[in-house]
């Protein structure tokens, strides 16, 4: 799809105007924010939803009878509904568990569902392109249960290697994979993987931390079982995330953390856990953050996730082409070279310049890119890299961002000549 097609309904310039952070000046230059894969920049509507909450409605949720406690509860429970609609959860708001981020969501799956359903020899199949959030919790579970953690290899062209998948699926109880790689940009075939998992009698969990902000998400259509994502990567606030799981699965999961809110009863000799998503939400939840996340979801819905995806696709094609032609091979992209089934994450390997130095030099131009292993060390090892300098797009990105990126990369290349 060409940029022109969306122009009537979606305007990246408008998104940019809505985003206060993009007025920043850094080292004498207007900011060029290319780190949305790390954390996205919230629009004014999200920031104001949070302020408005604290100024007008703040109270602890649940168990309140007074007016503002009801308002706070309505905001909090309303956020659950907004999110359920955004991902098309078949069971609605009751399937939305608030966590503090993708990482906590995976720990919840591992320690609640995993500890209850997996034992020695059972296999959790992840992939070599997973973020640590979808690796370490399984290693931790392995320590206590003796499960096996197996890895789907990644091909030389940066895709999941599914050539041997039926073999890999032996003994697998859970297939847990990312919807979109935060290093490579690779978009994985989730609906297909769900079919494979179910055919083998396994469940499938999807790390949607990246994908949910850049592609339309429909858990009903993709037929997955668990979905985890973070507010701060989808124009929302820090401190909040989501675990979605099918109602039947959630219903049988034991509690995760213990405390107030997640119980029906506590005696000096034991406790009875609550039903529904609150069973997994011990303690005072992220209430203001839920208001912010609901605003983010409304904002993204108004943009239209298909338009966001198409816009970022256009930016990615343009950037891939120009990086190739400008630097004739001195800047290598660690990720699929063709724009098919890939998102706007560009991991750069600049010949002779360490990613740390790339990022430092780019900062002088106001360009924000992130150097490092991006919490995906097994993937870095797979490709023999210690780090990359990663540039990534958001709905507010423009081709002019790529212009500045290329200008600054030119300086890096010439400085280290």
């Amino acid at each position: 799809m060409a940029l022109g097609e969306h122009v009537t309904t979606f305007s990246a310039r408008q998104v940019r105007a809505d985003t206060p952070m993009l007025r920043r000046v850094v080292n004498g230059r207007a900011i060029t924010y290319l780190d949305s894969a790390s954390s996205s920049l919230p629009p004014r509507a999200v920031i104001e939803a949070i302020s408005r909450y604290y100024e007008l409605h703040h109270a602890n949720v649940h168990r309140g009878v007074y007016t503002t406690a009801n308002e706070a509860t309505a905001i909090f429970e309303g956020a659950r509904e907004a999110i359920a609609a955004f991902i098309n959860a078949p069971g609605g708001a009751d399937e939305i568990v608030f966590t503090h981020g993708t990482t906590e969501s995976f720990n919840l799956i591992a320690r609640s569902w995993g500890a209850a359903n997996l034992g020695a020899g059972d296999v959790v199949l992840v992939s070599e392109m997973e973020h640590h959030a979808n690796i370490v919790p399984w290693f931790q579970l392995r320590e206590t249960t003796g499960i096996e953690v197996r890895f789907i290899p990644v091909t030389d062209d940066f895709r999941l290697d599914l050539s041997n998948i039926d073999e890999l699926m032996r003994g697998v109880k859970l297939l847990s994979v990312t919807g979109m790689s935060n290093v490579l940009g690779t978009i994985n075939p989730i609906a297909e993987l769900a079919g494979i998992a179910h055919r083998h009698g396994a469940l499938i969990a999807v790390d949607a931390a990246q994908s949910v902000a850049h592609l339309a998400t429909d858990v009903r259509a993709s037929n997955v079982d668990f979905l985890a994502f973070s507010g701060h990567k989808m124009l929302g606030p820090t401190g909040i995330g989501v675990l979605w799981a099918r109602r039947e699965i959630l219903a049988d999961m034991p509690p995760f953390l213990g405390g107030g809110g997640m119980i029906l009863d506590v005696r000096t000799d034991g406790y009875v856990p609550a039903a529904g998503p609150t069973r997994f939400e011990a303690g005072t939840p992220a209430i203001a953050e839920s208001a912010g996340l609901a605003a983010a979801v409304r904002y993204l819905s108004a943009l239209g996730m298909d338009h966001v995806a198409a816009h970022e696709h256009d930016l990615t094609i343009d950037a891939l082409t120009r990086l190739e032609s400008e630097f004739s091979g001195r800047v290598r992209i660690i990720g699929p070279a063709d724009a098919h089934a890939r998102g706007g994450v560009l991991s750069l390997d600049v010949e002779g310049v360490h990613p740390h130095d790339v990022a430092q030099i780019l900062d002088q131009y106001g360009v924000c890119v992130r150097p490092g292993h991006h919490c995906a060390k097994p993937l870095m090892r797979r490709f023999g890299l210690a780090a990359t300098a990663r540039a990534s797009f958001g709905p507010y990105s423009l081709t002019s961002d790529t212009d500045v990126l290329i200008e600054a990369l030119g300086e890096a290349v010439s400085l280290f000549g």
Partner: protein, 155 residues
């Protein structure tokens, strides 16, 4: 980009492009210590031979950014052949340089004058203090060296 020039002095780029004392030493007898900067993934291995209180040989392997690589390369040059007591003094002076950060006056309000000449070409790393996140890159080699000296069996 004058700021960048402070950071990327020609001598630093030279050590980065042509690192000195790369390689390994048989261990034992050499002391072998790994240094690690989790923030950027830099890894450094220092091999150190000390005889009669003198650093007789040093080799480095690993990978990292220009600052950490140049710093380790310069360090190896500065300490090779030096007495251990002298090496400790160099480490101290280097660390002092890295902690100056934005401070330019001492507690009495007098300008701090660090005699960079005693550091030789290592003084080129002084510009790093303007980039606080990079200080860890510059100090990695020195912390690892200090660890290696501590590991040398008392003679």
């Amino acid at each position: 980009m004058s700021n960048l020039d402070d950071l990327y002095r020609e001598i630093i780029l030279d050590h980065y492009r042509t690192p000195r004392n790369r390689g390994e030493l048989a261990s034992p007898p050499a002391v072998r210590v790994e240094g690690f900067n989790p923030l950027c993934g830099d890894e450094l291995v220092v091999y150190l031979n000390v005889d009669n209180g003198v650093v007789t040989d040093i080799k480095l392997s690993g990978h990292g950014c220009s600052i950490s690589q140049a710093s380790s390369s310069m360090m190896s040059v500065a300490v090779k052949g030096k007495a251990v007591v002298e090496v400790h003094a160099i480490i101290d002076r280097f660390k002092e340089m890295m902690t100056l950060k934005e401070r330019s006056l001492d507690d009495q309000g007098e300008p701090i004058i660090l005699d960079l000449r005693t550091l030789g070409e290592i003084a080129a790393l002084a510009g790093v203090v303007k980039f606080p996140v990079r200080i860890k890159c510059a100090t990695l080699a020195w912390n690892t060296l200090a660890q290696a000296l501590a590991d040398v069996a008392p003679s």
